[in-house]
């Protein structure tokens, strides 16, 4: 088979190589990716914190110290959220308590960050959230 490429709609850029971009004849377009992952970080300044499906890293920066509630959305398998005590105010008396919309977190109804600058990485698997 032989054909003429149309201008590719996939553009080469940082971490992305597209080859060939033009030409004729049987060919293969190879896309490779490299580089580092850039995470979206949202600063949450009021409690309760409602995590949305578009969130990645949530830095909890509620003035205090004060107990903070973080509510997770319904999970999608593989989805990951990072919850971080961004001000270092978490303690046993003023924890960050994470509650899922459904299911459990490592078998429990909630998960807690109670150490200054502590963080939790949560991934949803099947029916439950798991801490990584």
């Amino acid at each position: 088979m032989s054909y003429t490429n149309n201008p590719t709609s996939i553009l080469a850029g940082t971490g992305i190589v597209v080859a060939p971009t033009t030409g004729t004849g049987a060919n293969t377009i190879t896309i490779s990716a490299s580089g580092t992952q850039i995470l979206a970080v949202r600063t949450a300044i009021a409690t309760p914190v409602t995590v949305t499906t578009g969130d990645e890293v949530i830095s909890v920066e509620v003035p205090g110290p004060v107990a903070v509630a973080v509510n997770l959305p319904l999970g999608v398998t593989g989805q990951v959220f990072n919850i971080k005590d961004g001000l270092g105010l978490a303690s046993p008396a003023t924890p960050i308590t994470i509650t899922p919309a459904a299911g459990t977190i490592d078998g429990a109804a909630t998960a807690t960050i109670d150490a200054p600058y502590g963080s939790l990485t949560l991934v949803f698997a099947s029916t439950e959230w798991k801490i990584l």
Binding site: G54, G107, V123
Partner: protein, 97 residues
Amino acid sequence: MTISYKTKIVTATPYTVSSDDEVLFINVSSPSSVVLSASSSGRSVYIKDYSGLATTNPITITAVGGKTIDGVSFAILNGGYSHIQIVYDGTNWKTIS
């Protein structure tokens, strides 16, 4: 864009890690083993006790080809819901969380 991992719930032992595994949840009601296969530098994988059973049913992790994990021949998960993240440095495996 959101962060998403490829997850797999493992229910049989032993399990050999596939090249595209990212997060493995071990859900085996007996002591189990996970074998890290040959990889390229930078490859990482999470291994997690899915149901809190590792306290009584530990998960032993080894690597093929005589590769070590933090300088020894194996790693063990023996705490309920415990996990590790392991990365291959091109020569051996290292735990990073």
